[in-house]
């Protein structure tokens, strides 16, 4: 039974089926499957998908499709892990959002989804997020990484403002910062004191691991 449930859970992910993934996650809880094993199954299947992307067999819509299916199973399994008082191993916690004045969602969502798929815990604040909100989230979630997206030159200044606000509150060194978005360059990222920048969504995931030394 356990093997069957875990296989079906993995199958739902590689078939890009969020409803199926949630159903089999619930089933695993009902049938008292060790939630850590269920989580491992998800991690394993996402690694397969990630390898497929790396080797050129799979593409971004496959990667995001699988990650979305995984995302719908995750809360159910996480809840069970919490209930049992166990602890989840994650690659790190990331708070992510698009900065104030900027409604561009897709780049941020791609990065957020791919980070989850890679084993990060992600708190996605959404778009149009002000400096105070970012700082609040850093205080609340104590993330390893704060990731900010900005598409426009005029909103890129907001990334600078968030970093300055963190400095002002004396908590800049508590979190690594990565930035991205159309108007961002390596030089700009360095200039505002970010810990990393990558122009692409898959590159951002590698960057997150790199800046955490993983």
């Amino acid at each position: 039974m356990e093997v069957e449930i875990l296989e079906n859970l993995k199958k739902a992910v590689i078939e890009y089926d969020p409803q199926g993934a949630a159903r089999w996650a619930s089933k695993s809880v009902e049938e008292k499957v060790d939630p850590i094993k269920a989580l491992d199954a998800l991690t394993e299947v996402m690694r397969q998908v990630g390898d497929g992307f790396g080797s050129g067999e799979l593409w971004l819509p496959d990667l995001i499709g699988a990650a979305d299916a995984m995302k719908s199973a995750m809360p159910i399994i996480e809840e069970e892990i919490k209930r049992k008082g166990a602890k989840r191993e994650s690659a790190g916690t990331v708070v992510i959002g698009t900065v104030f004045g900027d409604l561009h969602d897709i780049g941020k969502t791609m990065v957020s989804t791919l980070l989850i798929a890679d084993g990060f815990e992600v708190i996605d604040l959404g778009v149009n997020i002000g400096a105070e909100e970012f700082v609040e989230a850093v205080n609340k979630y104590k993330p390893d990484i704060l990731a900010m997206s900005a598409l426009m030159t005029m909103t890129s200044i907001q990334q600078m403002l968030v970093i300055a606000t963190l400095q002002g509150k004396g908590i800049r060194d508590k979190v690594k910062i990565m930035v991205g978005g159309g108007a961002i360059t390596e030089d700009f990222a360095k200039g505002i004191g970010a810990d990393g920048y990558d122009p692409t969504a898959p590159g951002a995931v590698k960057l997150a691991r790199k800046i955490l030394g993983k």
């Binding site: 050129g56 593409w59 971004l60 819509p61 004045g101 409604l103 561009h104 969602d105 897709i106 780049g107 791609m110 778009v127 149009n128 426009m152 030159t153 005029m154 909103t155 890129s156 200044i157 159309g182 108007a183 360059t185 030089d187 122009p199 692409t200 969504a201 898959p202 590159g203």
Partner: protein
Amino acid sequence: MTLRGYTVKQPINILSEDEVNRIHSGTLEVLEETGVVFEHKQALEILEGAGCKVDHEKQRARFPSYLVEECLRKSPSSFTIKTRESKNDLRLGGNTLYFCSMIGMDAVDVDTGQRRSPTVQDAADAVRVIDALDELQLSIAPYFNLEGVPPMMVFPTLISIIVRNSTKATIGVTGYDADIWVIKAAQATNQEIPGNATSAPPLTWGEGIITSTLRYIEAGFPILPISGLNFGANSPATIAGSLVLNNAEVLSMIVLTQVISPGHRCWAANYSQPLDMRTSMPILGAIEKGLCGMAFAQMWRHYEIPSTCMVSSDAKVPDYQCGYEKAMSLVVQSLAGYNILACAGVVYDELMHSPVVTVMDSDIIGMIGRLLEGIKVTEETLAIDLIKEVGPIPGHYLNTAHTRKWWKQELFMPKLADRHSYPEWVNAGSKPIVTRAKERLKEVLATHEPTPLPEDQDKAIEDVLEEARSYFKEKGMM
């Protein structure tokens, strides 16, 4: 007198009449049933007053089809945009095509070819080159980044650079209060600068963009709504679906504009392209962008509203890829029947701009201009009498008066393309195109003097900049 531009006698239709109707009715259905988010209380109230169903909590307006159709009819099919010098006024609409520069973020260093932050001098040079080249009729901001200039002051500074170094028409940005200084600069220099309203796809207009757009409408300047779509990411993966979404977003802003100011000058922009499903970057050099652009132009010719398309390349340097991607896109989009193509100077999507590329692009535009002129078929050009007279070999045409009269009219001579014999090319230094373009650029910069602003207007521009600085300082934004 209005600037000549180019005439597209016979735009190419790539959609059947039935396909045009299906895209249009799909657009109406999306506008009526799904609607569009306007993150702006006043805009929503205006739309509600005009007959839209508005969900204020979700900030969403749903547009009845009759209202959309009515606003399409109200939006003028051709109009003039006033510039600093009347010879550069644009008559937008019909079959007239103009070419425009295109914004990039960073500069390509003219000497080293390396990517770097542009300086104020780089921007002034880039604008001056565009002012000098007859192939280009509009000059928009070449960069959206300026070394040593605080981010909020980048666009105010750029607009000052544009009005000081060019008398050609330009287009202004929206959002982040940048529009305030564009409008003031336009008024100070006695010209009109249309506002380019950018949506956040899918189906969302941000508060700052709407606020700016309302200010442009109030100033009486034309509105150019644009939605940047990446197929499969913030738009359907299919070209047809992206056309529906693009239309719906642009039309929703045209409706708002027409409701506020009936008959207001608007035109529509296409900035749609595939997303690279490996890197997550938009692909501006893709031929599918060309296909989509052609269909968009056809849709807006059908609506009898002028249209614009952005053309670029994914190349990082002015190389073969840059040349073929831009040339192919420009050929298809020119034949599609657009009124403005923004293209010159840009490389790497919209992330780099180079005046060396501007010079090369103007050669492409010159060739396209010749293509668009087409073939003149008259008694004289058919040359039947001449063919009979010259007869077979040893007859030839080099010595005829007909050749002397016609060859220059028939043949466009590009300024940069090398057409020498091989030994001549070697003797001239075996220079590749980029080297020749750099030489021409230096020549243009050394010789072209843009018409200076009258002293009082120059002073007024300085005042606008000063006011902008105080404004953003007061707001704590710099």
